[in-house]
């Protein structure tokens, strides 16, 4: 166990600046949106949209835009997975196996008395801690913005909604990162890992977001997309938690199956020189 902790702390130490820096950057972005909400007249948006029914139909994907929660959801939660996704995939491909294979340090590390399973699990633990901390900083700053925004205060501060989005985002980011980990164990190349993981990420986003535009008989495909289980509109805008447990359990199951697959592949892999 001490070896696993040693690897985790070494990685956290190495990535601390990017972890905190990125978290603060994204958090400030979210904080700024909460401030902007105060200066926007939401009733004017409602009026404008009523004159543009086609735009209204498209934006219905994000729900009612006349509450500060809806605006924050549209401006932040609906899109920030792109930035988070790129960043997490980059961190995974650079700090997990491909980085060590490309730096040629893997031989030295795996020649020490640590099993491949423990080694990979230490990477998995590091990645989860990493995404938990980054998003804690982001959500912390968003929460700070909400607590100082008159619009949110007037509408009501629903911390349970923010917490639910945070939890489901952790589980969802976990699937992005663990997909990258799986490709990392298969390819042992950072470029191929990034390309494959990002391709899967965008396909999943497309299927899980735009399934409603598919013919009815194909709409069942939504269930295979992890984005289908990232319903921030229901959680944050509407405060509906009916599917929260299901979504979290499905995302955890996806995480677990990706980790197990990675472990099975890595145990059989030859480590290249």
């Amino acid at each position: 166990m001490s070896k696993v902790i040693s690897i985790i702390s070494d990685h956290l130490n190495e990535k601390r600046l990017s972890m905190i820096g990125f978290g603060i950057l994204m958090g400030i972005f979210g904080y700024a949106i909460t401030l902007i909400v105060d200066v926007i007249d939401l009733s004017q948006i409602e009026e404008l949209l009523s004159t543009l029914p086609e735009l209204q139909e498209l934006l219905d994907l994000f729900g009612d835009l006349t509450s500060p929660y809806a605006l924050l959801n549209v401006e932040v939660f609906a899109f920030f997975w792109i930035f988070l996704g790129f960043f997490f995939v980059y961190v995974t491909s650079s700090s997990v196996l491909p980085g060590e294979v490309e730096d040629k340090t893997i031989d030295l590390i795996l020649s020490k008395p640590i099993s491949r399973s423990s080694y990979l699990m230490s990477k998995v633990a590091f990645l989860y801690i990493f995404i938990i901390i980054v998003q804690a900083i982001i959500f912390g700053l968003i929460g700070l913005g909400m607590s100082t925004s008159q619009s949110f205060i007037d509408f009501g501060l629903y911390w349970d909604r923010l917490l639910a989005v945070y939890i489901v985002n952790i589980a969802h980011s976990g699937t992005i990162v663990m997909t990258a980990l799986l490709f990392a164990t298969i390819t042992l190349s950072s470029k191929r890992t990034m390309a494959a993981a990002l391709a899967v990420m965008f396909v999943m986003f497309f299927l899980g977001t735009f399934w409603g535009f598919f013919p009815e008989e194909y709409q069942v495909i939504k269930y295979i997309s992890t984005w289908f289980y990232l319903n921030t509109q229901a959680l944050f805008v509407q405060g509906v938690f009916d599917n929260l447990l299901r979504d979290i359990l499905v995302l955890i199951a996806v995480n677990v199956s990706l980790i197990v697959s990675s472990l099975l592949i890595f145990r059989r892999r030859d480590i290249p020189v």
Binding site: S2, D103, T105, D107, I114, I271
Partner: protein
Amino acid sequence: MSDIVISCQNLTKYYGKSRGIENLNLEILKGEVFGFLGPNGAGKTTTIRTLLGLIHKTSGQASVFGLDSELNSVEIRKRVAYLPGELGEFEGKSVRRILKYLFGLYDSNVKWPRVKELASILRLPLDRKMNHLSKGNKQKVGVVLALAPDTELLILDEPTSGLDPLITMDVYKLLSEKQAESGCTILLSSHLLGEVEKVADRVGIIRGGSIAEVATLQQLKGLALKRVELLFDSHIDDTTLRTQLPTDIIEELTIEDSRAYLLVNRENLRKLLKSLSEVKFSNLDISSPDLEEIFLKYYSNDSTIYQEDKTPISEGL
């Protein structure tokens, strides 16, 4: 308890269709320093990496301390210190941090005063970033990694690569001291015959993925050749030169225009130099041929020649 520390029986590793090692048989005894010699691409590193479980064998058996190299890999690595041929970059990390991180992966604590002592002997700056170190200093990090832990087996893949001669001497001195103090077994892989013979009790010569010969240090001396290059002012006549030289002690003689290249056993060098007093050359250069050249001399690819050429070595042993 068995005296055999490393045992390979018909060990074979293929990378797809490419041969790594094939039917390699090897036994290394407890407490010995075993030199693992072979030209580049012969299969030295593949053998070592298979023993450490870094790659999976295609067929055959490999065991260390009587434990299967794949099934008991972690148990084996608890008792082994390894210096790979290439240490890697460890971008942006100081030597101290790298050493602490890697020593932290052993079950028992590696004594830090010992690490400092080794670093001091090798003149290794602990607080310098790894990627700012010269190749030689990087190699010193690997030497510290191999020598500091209390392990029963040291596996060193080209340990003095990139080191200057003085530090190379220090490394071999440290190795000998460590072996004398702890009685550990050392597997020393190299393509430099001259270096291995300084410390090895026995050597295994690997070529084309299989062990070509296992010899003692005494036998190894038969392989100790010197290359002598003679430069003349003008074109030298082949027949004339051959009559002036003691051809019975010359292993190989090549004459090209105004140059002559000779291969002689080290023990016959003095005799050759005496006979050269009669030869009017303008320059003379003596060097150690690399292992590749020695292999070409003794181990031709052709199996028939291989058998024939092998005989003189054994006879001369």
